[in-house]
Amino acid sequence: MTKVFSNNRMNIFYMIVALFLAVLPFVYDSRSTLILLSQVFIFAVLAMSYDILLGYTGIVSFGHAMFFGIGAYTVGVFMKRFEPETSYFLLAVLVTILLTAVVSYIVGLLTLRLKSHFYAMLTMAFAGLFLVLAEKWRTVTYGNDGFTFRVPEFLRDRTDFYLICLASMVIVFILLKRFTNSPLGKVLQAIRENEQRTESLGYSVLQYKVIASVVSGVLAGIAGILYAVSLRFVNTSVFTMDITLDALLMTIIGGVGTLVGAIIGAGIIEFSHHWLTELAKVHWIFERWIIFFGIIYILAVMFFPMGIVGSLQKLKFGRKKKTSAPVKSEAVSQGDS
C-alpha cells in the first residue's frame, strides 16, 4: 500500500493540491468557503489522528473526543483567563500537548491490555467523565453553555487562519506518513494484522499500542485547539460522542489505514454537512443528512472495510499485491458456520 505514496507521481499530485489550496484564498475570495475549508482541514487532522489508532494499529476508541475537547478547552481557558496573546497561545498549545500526552498515556496503559470491546467501552466512559467535568466545573468552563473568548492577533484574519489550518494538516500528514513508514509504524501495522504473532516475535505490543495512543491523542488535541480558535467559542459539545462519531465516519468512509482517506473523508462529511443543511430548507429530510452517512458507514464496514481510498487502491493494485483490510484484522475467533 505504501508504494502508492512513496511513488513520486503521487507526491507531486499532493503537492499540486496543497499549492492549489494555498493560493485559493487569493484568487477566490469567499468567506464561507474559506471557513468551510478550514473546518475540513481541522477535522482532517482529527480523522488522521484517529486513523493512526484504527487504521494503523487496529484499536477502536470511542473516546477520541476526550483529546479533542482537552485541546479546545485548554486554549479557550487560556485565552479567556489570561490575555489573548501569542505567548499565551503557545503556552496553551504546550499545555495541550502535555495534557493529552499524559492522559492518553495513562488511559492507554490502563486499558490497552483489554480486549477491543472493553477498550472501546472504557474510552467511551473516560470521555464521558471529561464531559461531566466540563459540565460541572463551572468556575472554569461555564458549564454547558460554554464561553466565547478572543484570540491572538495572528489568528484573527480568516485567510491567515485558513493558511495555518492548511499548513497544520499538511504538516501532520507528512509527519504521520513518515511515522507510519518508520520501523515503529511497521510494528504497529504488524500488531493490526496479527497481535499474537507480533507479541511472539518479541515486541512488547502494549508499549507500541500506547505509543500509537499518545501520538493519536496529542494530534487530536491539536485539532481541538484549531477547532476552538476557529469558533472563538467552546462548549461541552467538544467532548460529546458526536465528535468521535465524526472522526469515525470520516476515517471509515474515506478509507482506514491510508491517511489520505481521512482527509478525503473529512472533506466529504464537512461539505455534505454544509450543503445538506442548506438543503434542509428545501426538504426537512436533509436535516437528517447524517443518516445517509450512517448507512454508508455500515455498508462500508460490511462490504468495503477499506473505504474509498482503500478500495480504489485495491482496484488499481489488487492484481499485483495482496492487500488486507485493516478493519478485518482481528483473527476469527468464532468458528460458526
Binding site: L122, K136, M302
Partner: protein
Amino acid sequence: MDVLISLSLNGLATGMLIFLLAAGLTLIFGLMDVLNFAHGGLFAWGAYSGIWIYTSTGSFLIGIIGAIIAGMILGIVTERWIIKPVYGNHVQQILITLGLMLVLSEMLKVVWGPNQISATTPDYLSGSWEVGNVIIIKYRAFIIAVGFTVFLLVQFLLKKTKIGLVVRAGVMNKEMVQSLGINIQKVFMFVFMIGAGMAALGGMLLGPYSGVIYADMGMEFAILAFIVVVIGGMGSFSGSVMAAILVGLSGSFMAYYVPDLALAANMLLMAVVLIFRPQGLFGAKG
C-alpha cells in the same frame, strides 16, 4: 427515613429499567461475544413505538406489547443483517453496531420528528399510595414489579428449559454445542430477540416515568447499561440484576446528596472494575 425509602424506591425503579437494557446486552455478550453498541437504539425504538401505539390506541398494555414486538423484530433484523455478516471480527462488530446506533437514533427523528415527545402515565397507574409517612408512587412500584417479573421469567427460562440449558452451554463452549447437533445460529437469534424485547420494554416503561421520550435517551441509558454489564460481570445474567440495582441506587442517592457527581461516580466505578477486576464484581458467568 422517608427520604431514604423514597430514594431507594426511586433508585430501584431506575435500576430495573437499566436492568432491562443491560440483561440483553450481557446475555448477548456472554453467548455471542458481541458487544452490541446499538442496544440503546433498540431501547429508544421500544419507547417511541410503544408510546406511539399507546397514544393511538389509548391502551397502555397494547403499547407495552407493541413495544416488545417492535423491539424483537428490530432485534432479529439487527442480528441477521448487521451482526451476522461480521461474526467473529470484533473490530468490525464494534464499528458496525455503533453505526447502527447512529442510524437508529436518526431514524427515530425521521419517523417521529426531532423534538421530544411527552408520555403520560395511564390513570390506573397514576398517583401514589401513602404508607405511614412514606409516599409510594404507583408507577415506580409498577416498574419495580415488572422488572422483577422479567428477571424471574428469564431466570426460569435459563435454568429450567432446554433452550436455556443450550444458552448456558453455549456461553461456555460454542463449538461443543454445535458438535452436539444444535444450530447455534438459531440460539443466537433467539437470545438476541429476547434481549432486544427486554430493551424495548425498558424504553417503553421509561416514557411515563420520565414524562418525555427523546432520541438520545438510548445513548444515555446505554452508557449506564454498559457500566452495569461491566460491574455485573460480562455475560453474567444474575450479576447484571445486582449491578443494575447498585447503579440505580447509587445514582438516586448521589443525585440527591451530591448531584454533580452521580454519573461520574458510576463511570469511575466501571473504570476501576474494568481495570482491576475485569470479570466483574458479581463473579461467575451464568
